[in-house]
């Protein structure tokens, strides 16, 4: 039972344009959602989070949107930069644990 799904394994975006990464979930008990970024041969690093009681959180170039009725969240990166090329994981949090999606590989084309 995959509680957090990232249906796009990969995404390519032109530098300077907007990158939109999507995530769907099935567990209504998640209290928080987080996005992590991972470079090859490194551990994931935290990007941004959103509480389940909010619908938007913004931090610089990164904005996360949450649609609870659709059980869907998305990460917007504007403008996209070459250093944003990485694998992005969304995760749902509850009961002191995180459940991760399978990741989306974002490639920014110069």
């Amino acid at each position: 039972d995959q509680q957090v799904k990232q249906n796009s394994p990969s995404l390519s975006v032109q530098e300077g344009r907007i990158s939109i990464l999507n995530c769907d979930y099935t567990n209504s008990m998640f209290d928080y959602f987080l996005w992590y970024k991972k470079y090859p041969a490194e551990g994931p690093t935290f990007l941004i989070s959103i509480s389940s009681i909010k619908d938007k959180n913004e931090d610089g170039r990164f904005t996360v949107f949450l649609n609870k009725s659709a059980k869907h969240l998305s990460l917007h990166i504007v403008p996209s930069q070459p250093g944003d090329s990485a694998v992005y994981f969304c995760a749902g949090g509850g009961n002191e644990k995180l459940t991760f999606g399978t990741g989306t590989r974002l490639t920014i084309i110069p």
């Binding site: 551990g43 690093t45 935290f46 989070s49 994981f89 009961n95 995180l98 991760f100």
Partner: protein
């Protein structure tokens, strides 16, 4: 601050051998976690700890054991290695757990191959 450190970085084990993956954090975090990541998959929680002396099972605990005798260290033990345990293992820690949406800080990972 070193953050979360993991040793070794790489290891090849024969079937049936045992080993301990080491994890240390210097941020005085109460919460520590072990994950495994298989190719093309997300991270799956093996075990976690909410403080010294307290551990609990995650999603995929079979074949592993943990202990938490100090705040800093959270070793993961494989007793009888099996090919299904070939994976990349990540240790993580966080300050307040997920009730407040606290982020987890990850180590660089240990790539384990069992043949």
């Amino acid at each position: 601050n070193a953050g979360v450190t993991q040793t070794p970085k790489f290891r090849i084990l024969k079937i049936g051998q045992s080993m301990t993956l080491q994890c240390t954090q210097d941020m005085n975090h109460n919460y520590m976690y072990w994950y495994r990541q298989d190719p093309g998959m997300g991270l799956k929680l093996i075990y976690y700890s909410v403080g010294a002396g307290i551990t609990d099972k995650g999603e995929v605990p079979n074949g592993y054991n943990v202990s938490r005798s100090t705040t800093e260290d959270f070793p993961l033990r494989l007793e009888l290695a099996a090919p299904s345990q070939t994976s990349v293992y990540f240790c993580a820690s966080s300050n307040g757990g997920l009730a407040g949406g606290d982020e987890q800080y990850f180590g660089p990972g240990t790539r384990l191959t069992v043949t």
